[in-house]
Subunit: 426 residues, 2 copies
């Protein structure tokens, strides 16, 4: 664990394309799925997941069996979380705009849900019911009529019971037990069984990410997530145990995850460093967390709280925790952050699972220009222009002047032909 | 001009990467700008634009000279258009959300403008004041504090007076006379003179488009526009001269532009075809328009108005004109379109220049999942989670249950360490 000065700190990520080989593999899989449809998807599922499927759909009886397997604590927690996440996203919903004016024009912005969305849910060694909630709920709130879910099966073709129960609790009825680049291909191009979607969201391994990148344009995708980050701004009032615990909850995700504490208090820096060592020893996922802390972890001592805020704005962290006195008053100075957790009770996992806001957040400094996943990601807008005869007669010459300034004479002509005819009619 | 049935019509674009060579060139330019900054930008400007610049900035006195050169008609039209475009985009503005609850939690969605945005304005043979308006105004309405504009100069290092006057009317003070991939590189990476931006928007030639694609991730970009399209749904009430004039105003943009009329009225189809031939003869940009109409133009006769709407939804046109009786009643059935122009006075150029909505629209069928450029493209959102002690004590066990279901024990621990301490303190 490095303790350093703000000026010395740079969160450096590898810029090289270390994934050339995986990219080639993903592209080959996509091409094969495009060409051969279901047959290719079935073959890849056997090859990569070890499951021989006769039917891509998750069978209906799997859900009932899953309810027997999950704990009552999980089901209670899930239902409470769904309510919270739905309530938060409902507040993001927007309505179409209409701007009538005195010239008789109607201008508008029509907001409609996407028609068909595919949600990728990772599987394999781990299972992520929270991914199901965080991708499906905003799409549902947006009003997307067709939401299709894909998730890779185990060798028996089975899906994690917690994930199955989450799918059912959310009322998703079209779900397939496929994963990897082959699932992305099926969603983008369609197969005999699966109709193509308009957008694919949800996290996955490197093959999934590269496949999503490759089909972008054919369909929309959410942002490709990089490694996860938390930055904690703390002062002498912070509890070092809480700071360390939150840093480790980020670090356990991935050896590439970054957990950074920024503090003007040198004493706190030392106490956080000690707490990290202590807590690390008790972690089942110690190996991952330790690698993350060693390579990307840092405790940065700043000259002031102002400097801490500045550094944070420069890094634009995915998760930002403010554990300072009167933390809420810092919020207005935070320029770039995916999610801001205020005060000592706002531990990051509260946001990952439960509070309501989305846990899909911009990583790798992209909070400078991008935003958490939300209802806006599942809608499309159309402009509406309903121009009146009066307005055209009054303003037509302006349109002509602007078109001619750009040398676009057919544009000017489209107005002129109307002005001539309509003035006659008058 | 082909007249055909709906079932036979597919708007087919080339899917191959025909730009491999240009992509390589753009990447080489970007690398050089990243390495050598201003020196590289100056060298490329000399090489590609033929201008030897001592200063990248557009000189202050150029603006005053430009006001002497533009016509009063242009200036009047420009000022009227700016008011309209600003008024429309003001209506798109959104405010931050705050959701307090009875448990003492504060959840929120904070909306902030991007900090620094680069607008690319094409130059060279043509000049596009409308591009300046349509990119700058939504950024200004969003509240972006730093808007920097780039546009390529002529061989004397000069910029079109109409563009200069537009820049000045909008109050943009940071503008550079550079273009091409080198300008994109300067905006993305920064040089000695130009600080890097968070997002680059605006249209350009193929090198600009490929360079924008390449820097995506480093900065945000707007959508890369494909060739322009208009689809006109018309019935027997439509004026074939208006339909043809609007189709040609699209066709004159680019030999790859697509102008399509879809009508259930075979008689109108013939009359539109005739009007096209007639009007084409009088067009200065006839060669371009003719190529576009020949290759991508079509008049499609449908069995019904319903079938016309269906076809349009399938194509998801950039511009959709509805020239039917009671056209406004069709709007609710339009699933996919960048902008919808309703009725015979709503000629597409009215929207391109003047009415208020943005003219930067999703092309090539991407209206299925994307939207016109607008204020939303110049903001970023941050989630806010300010959790209370009461809520944590009440719900902590739910967060733990969900974290443990995903095997993320450090997440569970971050909650547990708080529950233990805070319950003691109670």
């Amino acid at each position: 664990m490095k303790v350093m000065q703000a000026a010395d700190f740079v969160l450096k990520r590898d810029e090289e394309d270390v994934y050339a080989e995986q990219r080639e593999a993903a592209l080959a899989i996509l091409a094969e799925v495009k060409a051969s449809g279901d047959a290719a998807v079935i073959a890849y599922t056997e090859q990569f997941d070890g499951a021989a499927l006769d039917d891509l759909r998750i069978p209906a009886d799997a859900y009932e069996a899953a309810y027997e397997q999950v704990t009552p604590e999980f089901l209670d927690a899930l239902r409470a979380a769904i309510l919270n996440i739905r309530r938060y996203h409902e507040a993001q919903k927007r309505t179409s705009l209409l701007l009538p004016d005195a010239d008789g024009n109607l201008l508008g912005q029509i907001i409609r849900p996407l028609q068909r969305v595919g949600v990728y849910v990772p599987g394999g060694r781990a299972a992520y019911p929270s991914s199901v909630m965080m991708n499906v709920i905003p799409a549902q709130v947006a009003g997307v009529p067709e939401i299709v879910l894909v998730t890779p099966p185990d060798r028996e073709g089975k899906i994690d019971p917690n994930v199955l129960v989450t799918i059912r609790e959310l009322g998703i009825t079209e779900a397939y037990r496929i994963g990897g680049a082959q699932a992305v291909g099926a969603l983008a191009y369609g197969t005999e069984t699966i109709r193509p979607v308009d957008k694919i969201t949800g996290p996955g391994n490197i093959y999934v990410a590269l496949a999503k990148q490759a089909v972008f344009g054919q369909v929309a995708i959410d942002m490709i997530a990089g490694p996860s980050e938390v930055l904690v701004i703390a002062d002498e009032s912070a509890d070092p145990d809480y700071v360390a615990a939150d840093m480790l909850s980020q670090a356990e995700h991935d050896p590439l995850a970054a957990a950074i504490c920024v503090t003007p208090c040198a004493d706190l820096a030392v106490r956080v460093a000690n707490a990290l060592v202590e807590q690390l020893e008790q972690l089942p996922r110690r190996e991952i967390a330790e690698a993350s802390i060693r390579n990307y972890g840092a405790i940065v001592v700043t000259k002031s709280l102002d400097e801490a805020v500045e550094l944070s704005n420069r890094i634009a962290p995915e998760h930002l925790e403010l554990m300072t006195e009167d933390a809420l008053s810092l919020v207005g100075r935070i320029e770039n952050a995916g999610a801001i957790f205020v005060g000592k009770y706002s531990s990051e996992p509260v946001g990952d699972y439960f509070a309501g806001p989305n846990h899909t957040l911009p990583t790798s400094g992209t909070a400078r220009f991008s935003s958490p996943l939300g209802v806006d990601d599942f809608i499309k807008k159309s402009s509406l222009i309903c121009y009146s005869k009066d307005a055209l007669l009054k303003n037509g010459h302006h349109v002509i002047a602007l078109a001619e300034a750009e040398g676009l004479t057919a544009h000017a002509n489209a107005i002129r032909v109307r002005l001539e005819k309509e003035r006659e009619v008058r």
